[in-house]
Amino acid sequence: MIRLERRKEPSTFWRVANPFLAVILTMLAGGMMFVALGKDPVTAIRLIFFDPIFSAQFGSYSRPQLLIKSAPLILIAVGLAIGFKANIWNIGAEGQYIMGALFGAGVALAFFPLQGWYIFPLMILAGAFGGFLWAMIPAILKTRFNTNEILVSLLLVYVAERILAAMALGLMRNPDQPGFPGSRDLRRYESAHNAELIAGTGLHWGVVAALVAVIFAYVMMTRHMLGFHVRLAGQAPRAARFAGVAPARLVVICLGIAGALAGLAGMFEVSGPGGQVRIEFAVGYGFTAIIVAFLGRLHPIGIVLAGLLLGLTYIGGELAQMMLGLPSASIQVFQGMLLFFLLALDFQTNYRIRLREEVRR
């Protein structure tokens, strides 16, 4: 008989090894999926994981893309991870991302065609504020009425998507091109353009913001009382109350930070790589960031690595779509598998599987 035994202490080895193992298992299972689709698995895996960086043919285009795709993932995931550590489950980062983009773009469009150094900083503030505001809806509903933040934040994503569509078709539509949905292209509006800081690298202000957020989160979680209380509330809620943590305050802080960072990510995207408010502006960074947060072990440094990996799957996925004609959903399946395998493997961080030999307590 197979028995599960709780480990005395969680295994550090498995905690570090599991993300890597999950990636390998995902490649294997994904390969099988590609076989089932009638594609060569080796080529597909190579296209997704290696060619975006190493291929001479695509590298020059896709290498800068790595930073562009990873930065929003990392920015959002860092904020989510803080909440997850406290057992506050913000699943609606996608909505906060959209609202950040709309607030940021709104500021830009309001100033157009004025030029000025202050426009972009204002957009940054507005973007963070938009995401923060959207996250406060589940936060306040939870603290006042004890609603479930998972449901509320998730459902607000769909509300945000409706607002995005309404904006793209209505209020924010480019008046110079009334026949097309979508706003003015912010890349053509110098004061609002989140341009590459070094040409050809993909390095824009969003990448800088992601780095700052990672450092900020790291310091907060390891050196500051707030980070300690976040961890305490997540691990032992009663001990947290004993220590004097006010649960409601923590909910507001965690959702607020995550919302503001997601909003920032949206604003850097709409003013840079995205360029304009469009109906199809949101491509799921807010959801993928959940995978990034878990794959990165909710640790800021881990999140950087996981963000780069998931960013890679976005680029590689596009490449595989183009070259092999893989359906676009297959890359989402791929990302989902990654989370699935990770969570399954994580079981052995806390438990040991043994074949039964003796009766023990």
Binding site: L226, F228, L232, A243
Partner: protein, 508 residues
């Protein structure tokens, strides 16, 4: 004595890193009341589990009525005539007494016959039980009766009882002892596990003392003093807490006519609580578990908020403040449940030291944590309270219960509070450590702190408390001096039938 009922010969059992039992031999006579004594971790539980078929010994053998006895499972042990009443009950709240009894039997008779038998047996042994009542509605003492009756119905030759009195009032203990004596007279042997020495001296014919997995002695407990038994158990000379007569200071903590609903659906609401705690005073609060102890602690620590003026600390209203603010003002608390409430299981001892020590020990600067200071604080606690741990980076949940208890109580005491509230300070702690903790509480009071000890251990309260009150269904009796208080009086206070309680109701 005739041929022994059970002989244990050279039983050993090792777990990774610990020799739980080493070459233990002793025998239990027919109809004998045999005590098994030892501190936590002395190997009592392992030995009992071996006898009850839960654990297989590495070496050694057992003989039951001249036949080799090596049960592979509890049901085999039960068939051979060994029954056990566990410290923690295994009963289903939603089922009635008869159904619960049937679930634990090898071949239960039809429920109606069973109910009749329960009635007969329980009355015969002075443990009246209504087989049709739901277990959820029973008191702890009554639940224990269910467990005992379940064992008795199987007509055991050997009845093992693991710390049976920890949930009982003194009156209930007396009833239980009568039952056990009657059983012994009828020829049933009883293996009685406890660390309450007076009980063992009152009840048992013979005692086997374990220490560090080895048998230290088998003796007649009636010929030894409690002190001698304790020293055999601990292996060192014990010093009861020293107390000087000390002057009472001003009132440091006061609660006025406070009623508060529990935050837990099955909790006990506090009703009209009044108390005054003076500087230098140790106030002991007794009560059977579940009579509002948890709520009282939460209300005093600040986890449950009260009306602002209902609780005052040194004259300052604090009812509305949370635990952090109260701590800063000088009130600290140590809740009963150490793992998950007083300490975070998956955090290191350093982190757990920071958990409540941050403000009073000045372990943060502008919110940034002084990890070195926290580690130093953890090490101070470990050294002063003899916490056995390889280091400060060990997770709280890796510590044994007693060691963690020393750590969390030590943490609060080390903060030099003006008022300290502790619930069950020495629960599950070995005798030497319990003495350390009590001594530290007494020393704290001598320095002028007000100490409020909530405990179910009456001996402990009588040993250290200056004044005394009891909780019963969320009501607190009037506080009275501990001097000259008898166990009987305490029992009545705890049962809510005391004159003080009546007086309290009249005044309320």
């Amino acid at each position: 004595m005739t041929a022994p009922l059970l002989q244990i010969e050279g039983v050993s059992k090792a777990y990774p890193g610990v020799q739980a039992n080493a070459d233990i031999s002793f025998q239990i006579g027919e109809g004998q009341l045999h005590a098994l004594l030892g501190e936590n971790g002395a190997g009592k539980s392992t030995l009992v589990k071996i006898i009850y078929g839960l654990v297989k010994p590495d070496t050694g053998r057992m003989v039951l009525r001249s036949e080799a006895f090596a049960p592979a499972s509890p049901s085999e042990a039960r068939r051979a005539g060994v029954a056990m009443v566990f410290q923690h009950f295994s009963l289903f709240d939603a089922l009635d007494v008869a159904e619960n009894v049937a679930l634990g039997m090898e071949n239960p008779p039809p429920l109606r016959d069973l109910a009749q038998r329960i009635r007969t047996v329980s009355e015969e042994y002075g443990l009246p039980l209504d087989p049709n009542r739901r277990v959820g509605d029973l008191s702890a003492g009554e639940r224990q009766r269910v467990e005992i009756v379940r064992c008795l119905l199987q007509d055991p030759k050997l009845l093992i009882m693991d710390e049976p009195t920890s949930v009982l009032t003194p009156q209930e203990v007396e009833i239980l002892f009568k039952t056990l004596r009657k059983l012994a007279q009828e020829g049933t042997s009883i293996l009685y596990i406890s660390h309450k020495l007076d009980e063992i001296r009152a009840l048992c014919d013979e005692a086997t003392i374990l220490r560090g997995g080895r048998k230290i002695a088998t003796c007649d407990p009636r010929e030894k003093t409690a002190r001698e038994l304790a020293e055999l158990m601990v292996g060192q000379v014990l010093h009861p807490p020293e107390r000087d007569a000390r002057a009472r200071g001003d009132v440091v903590l006061q609660v006025d006519e406070l009623s508060l609903n529990s935050n837990h659906p099955f909790g006990t609401s506090l009703k009209g609580i009044n108390l005054k705690l003076h500087a230098g005073e140790i106030l002991g609060i007794a009560g059977v578990a579940g009579n509002g102890q948890d709520e009282l602690l939460l209300m005093l620590s600040g986890e449950l908020r009260a009306p602002k003026r209902a609780v005052t600390l040194k004259g300052q209203p604090i009812g509305h403040l949370g635990p952090g603010s109260r701590r800063k003002l000088g009130l600290v608390a140590a809740p009963e449940e150490r793992l998950g409430h007083a300490a975070a299981p998956d955090m290191s001892l350093t982190e757990n030291a920071l958990l409540s020590g941050a403000s009073r020990k000045r372990l943060t600067r502008n919110g940034f944590i002084d990890w070195r200071g926290a580690d130093r604080f953890a090490r101070e606690i470990i050294a002063r309270f003899d916490v056995r741990t390889p280091g400060t980076q060990v997770l709280a949940r890796a510590l044994s219960g007693g060691n963690l208890q020393k750590f969390v109580i030590g943490r609060e005491i080390e903060m030099n509070p003006d008022v300290i509230i502790v619930n069950q300070p020495t629960w599950g702690v070995d005798a030497a450590a319990a003495a350390t903790i009590r001594q530290a509480l007494v020393a704290l009071a001598a320095q002028g702190a007000g100490v409020l000890v909530i405990s179910q251990d009456l001996d402990e309260l009588l040993e250290i408390a200056d004044s005394f009150a009891a909780l019963n269904e969320g009501r607190l009796t009037r506080v009275r001096s501990a001097k000259g208080l008898t166990v009987e009086e305490i029992g009545l206070m705890m049962g809510g039938a005391g004159d003080m309680h009546v007086a309290h109701e009249a005044s309320a």
